[in-house]
């Protein structure tokens, strides 16, 4: 991009709203969605490619583009309504900020995504990355009631709302959750809240992997009321053996009752409670381990396919940094993998009807294998039309499918 263009951005958005990244690329910091829409409209006219960055802590900021946009300056928690269990936040707000503001109101967002607490809430939604709490509270889509998006050509679309039940119009919000920013730039979110749990207890059981996954199945079959039941590899848990971590949340009496049941229903596992002051650190470290390798993937297995999926990942990649829902079957792996190996894993898991999503990796790998790879028959055409709808100039630099479509 030439200096004239840089000057044009400054003139358009004000000098304070345009900086340069480490490589001299203009980085625009719009202060609201109207400014962002103006930027996108201009980019559409000029055919400038756009790279979206949240806080830059999850996906590396390396997608090829003429300019970067960051949601930094849209980082406020706009409102928290404890009696409605709903909050409205700007997409650039960090998870840390959201958690703090909610806690002040006695509220809580039941999402514990991988990565750093400085991650933006927009990044969590765009990548659809949920964590161990998915066991009880569901994936990211279950926590988002509505959103505002600026499309690639600068339109502002507001879907959903601040109520927990809503079927007015199509559910456009779902397209944005886990859409990796290919359908627009999320600027604002309506989130579903819960009251801050009074008791928060974590227990750990250690042992061989298969014994722990069996324990996870037993606890799930017995409907033990755990909020998370996560299998962690030794390196990820910083232990000498595999770990099954159970997190129980809620009223004190309920948590005590469920703790007893967990122990009864998983007879051959020995559970040790984690000291209360270590709980936050433990789960925080487990979440940050997803950043330890340059690549992070998730595989959507079912519980009865979890052992098989873990075996395949071990055999084709490795099993150093693994975190898996022992009650859901959702697996997250981090490490290093050449494109061919990654593709082989994706193909073999596809044969078992297990989708593999590339959650983060350097652009070179994203470009080649894509976040999703090849679609099922007919779906690529639909996704293509939807991308064309929300980004008619193909300006948003996102590798959904990859270069070779697999």
């Amino acid at each position: 991009m030439n200096e004239a263009a840089y000057d044009r951005l400054q003139a358009l958005l004000g000098p304070g709203a345009v900086e340069r990244d480490g490589r001299g690329l203009p980085r625009v910091v719009p202060e609201n969605e109207d400014r962002l829409a103006l930027l996108c409209k201009t980019a559409m006219e000029e055919k400038w490619k756009i790279r979206v960055e949240g806080r830059g802590t999850w996906l590396p900021p390396d997608a090829p583009a003429d300019l970067a946009v960051t949601t930094h300056a849209m980082g406020r928690v706009i409102s928290v309504s404890p009696s409605d269990l709903v909050a409205t936040v700007q997409a650039g707000a960090t998870l840390e900020t959201v958690r703090r503001d909610l806690a002040e109101a006695g509220m809580w967002l039941a999402l514990d995504p991988p990565g750093r607490a400085e991650r933006s809430i927009g990044s969590i939604v765009a990548t659809g990355t949920s964590g161990p709490l998915r066991h009880l509270y569901g994936p990211v889509r279950d926590h988002v009631l509505g959103c505002t998006v600026v499309t690639g050509d600068g339109r502002i679309v507001r879907s959903g709302g601040r109520v927990v039940k809503n079927v007015a119009g199509y559910d456009l919000t779902k397209l944005q959750i886990g859409g990796f920013g290919a359908f627009g730039i999320v600027t604002e979110l309506h989130l579903r809240l819960r009251t801050l749990p009074r008791a928060d207890i974590t227990l750990l059981a250690r042992g061989p992997r298969d014994r722990l996954t069996a324990g996870g199945r037993d606890a799930t079959a017995a409907q033990v009321g755990a909020a998370a039941l996560e299998l962690l590899s030794p390196a990820l848990a910083d232990e000498s053996d595999w770990v099954l971590a159970a997190r129980l949340l809620g009223q004190e009496a309920v948590v005590s009752a469920e703790t007893r049941r967990l122990q009864q229903e998983t007879g051959d596992l020995i559970w040790e409670p984690l000291p209360a002051d270590r709980t936050g650190t433990f789960w925080g470290l487990a979440g940050r381990a997803a950043l330890a390798g340059p690549l992070t993937l998730r595989a959507g297995a079912l519980l009865d396919g979890l052992d098989d999926t873990l075996d395949l990942i071990r055999d084709l990649l490795d099993d150093r940094l693994i975190s898996a829902g022992a009650g859901t079957g959702a697996v997250r792996w981090s490490g290093e993998a050449p494109p061919d190996r990654f593709r082989l894993l994706r193909r073999q898991l596809a044969d078992r009807e297990v989708p593999v999503t590339l959650e983060r990796a350097p652009w070179e790998l994203r470009r080649v294998v894509g976040h999703f790879g090849a679609y099922q028959e007919g779906v690529g055409r639909l996704v293509g039309k939807l991308r064309e709808t929300f980004d008619p100039g193909s300006l948003l630099s996102v590798a959904l499918e990859g270069a070779h479509g697999d």
Partner: protein
């Protein structure tokens, strides 16, 4: 009338499904001209009832070739005029596709055809200790395919989520007759969340021919309590208190005096006292220890907020009786007058007390009988207006009341529909709920799935209010844009 003559089309359709399953005569079509909402009627061009997935695909391909519009319909219990076809559209009734294809207890999944009746699915899953949670009041009649189209809810969606939270994968026939598979058995999407986008698209993206649903274990313990109040506001404040306590009941339902009286005067009577201003039905589920702990807290909160009588169900039969009053309330209300409009809107939970007051004021000013029976825990209201459609003045007041209620809910920060869909009934409110750009996005997304705009035309968004968007990959978009 587009393309092919109706007689010729009926002959072609009969070749696919057999003459028995094509309806063309006026007297046969009458059955299909409404969907339980007395204010909207429309007679389809003709009706076809396919008996298999293959027949659905063949029908959609035939209609694509002839350029005919079509509307998919389940049991016709939607209450929003969503499954109505006008005189140039073919109604495809899916009730014959009623097979449960597989239940996988280990995976907690079932695969079924769209015409399976909601309640039958849970019955079939029960021997495995599993259930299908979304339970609309019409569950003994409505189909899961219809539930997918509308993203239906039900009392137990407070804790477990609505239809969209229970659909893992779909096979869909698009309007051009092509077939796509969306989602996976685990629910993790292969790509963007197109299952999430499809659920609630009101039959305008295509027809789901195979549905993979999540089943959840039947909880080992259930505690159901019925509490009555002498004051409507106190009852709705009790709802807020329960929600604020952090307990998420499986269901938290409310009925006002008018509704209680209608139920108690009907065969669905539960023994409730008819002088009560309101009643709450609260259900807790989980393990026995959890339910016991939560029940003590909930009952204390109910009493603190002025509950007069608390009746708990000690047996499954008693529980069924308490629920009967709630689930059959619409039936009981149907006895009051020849016609009943069941409205559907949502407000933030904190706005419930004021909104109920406002609905009361609208009722008094317009001289109507409005009964409220609804999902209080979700803020999902169902004001039910009893009337006689032959009385034109009364019908006009019903229309006016419906409109005022919708605007009151929007003004409270709510939505014009929580589970019935926009259909034809709510079309006029969409411009108050969304700006032109967002409506334009909806129109454009629809055209991505159905560039010809032939699947359930004229529903959900008022085309005139949509800002123009690019028509991705379509040369045929004009029909959808100009309807």
């Amino acid at each position: 009338m587009p393309g092919i003559a109706t007689d010729a089309l009926a002959r072609d359709l009969a070749r696919i499904v057999g003459p028995r399953w094509v309806r063309t005569r006026g007297s046969e079509l009458v059955t299909y001209r409404a969907d339980g909402l007395p204010t909207h009627e429309s007679t389809p061009r003709l009706v076809v009832l396919p008996g298999s997935r293959g027949e659905v695909i063949a029908i959609v391909r035939l209609l694509s070739e002839s350029g005919s519009a079509f509307v998919a319909r389940g049991a016709g219990t939607g209450l929003s005029g969503g499954a109505l076809a006008d005189t140039d559209a073919v109604l495809i009734v899916l009730t014959r596709l009623s097979k449960i294809l597989a239940i996988h207890p280990q995976k907690a999944r079932a695969i079924l055809e769209p015409g399976v009746v909601n309640a039958r699915l849970s019955e079939a899953a029960r021997p495995y200790g599993l259930q299908y949670v979304p339970d609309p009041s019409s569950q003994t009649a409505c189909t899961v395919g219809g539930n997918v189209a509308e993203n239906a809810g039900g009392p137990h969606c407070l804790k477990y989520g609505v239809t969209t939270n229970h659909i893992a994968a779909l096979e869909v026939v698009l309007a051009d007759g092509s077939v796509v598979r969306l989602g996976s058995q685990s629910g993790e999407p292969w790509g963007p969340d197109l299952v999430g986008l499809f659920v609630g698209s009101e039959g305008m993206f295509g027809i789901a021919t195979e549905i993979t649903v999540r089943l959840v274990p039947i909880p080992p313990a259930i505690h159901t309590v019925f509490a009555d109040f002498m004051n409507l506001r106190a009852a709705s404040e009790a709802v807020s208190a329960i929600i604020a306590s952090g307990i998420v009941p499986a269901a938290l339902e409310m009925m006002d005096q008018s509704c209680i009286q209608a139920v108690e005067a009907s065969i669905y009577a539960t023994g409730a006292r008819t002088d009560a201003a309101a009643a709450l039905l609260v259900e807790l589920d989980g393990t026995p220890e959890t339910v016991e702990a939560e029940a003590a807290l909930v009952e204390a909160l109910l009493r603190q907020h002025g509950a007069r009588d608390l009746r708990s169900a000690a047996t499954e039969a008693e529980r069924a009786r308490l629920w009967q009053g709630r689930k059959k309330a619409f039936g009981a209300l149907g006895r009051i007058a020849p016609d009943l409009v069941v409205q559907d809107a949502v407000v933030p939970r904190s706005a419930l007390p004021d909104t109920l007051d406002r609905i009361g004021a609208i009722r008094d000013r317009l001289g109507l009988r409005i009964s409220n029976v609804f999902h209080a825990g979700d803020g999902n209201l169902h004001p039910c207006i009893s009337f006689d459609r032959r009385d034109r003045d009364l019908s006009e007041r019903v229309r006016q009341a419906s409109e005022e209620i919708m605007y009151a809910c929007l003004a409270a920060g709510g939505s014009i529909t929580g589970e019935h869909g926009v259909g034809s009934d709510k079309l006029g409110y969409m411009t108050a709920a969304f700006d032109g750009e967002t409506l334009g996005a909806m129109c454009a997304v629809r055209l991505a799935f159905d560039p010809s705009g032939r699947a359930n035309p004229g529903k959900v968004y008022p085309t005139h209010a949509c800002k123009e968007w690019s028509r991705a990959g379509s040369n045929e978009a004009s029909r959808g844009m100009t309807r």
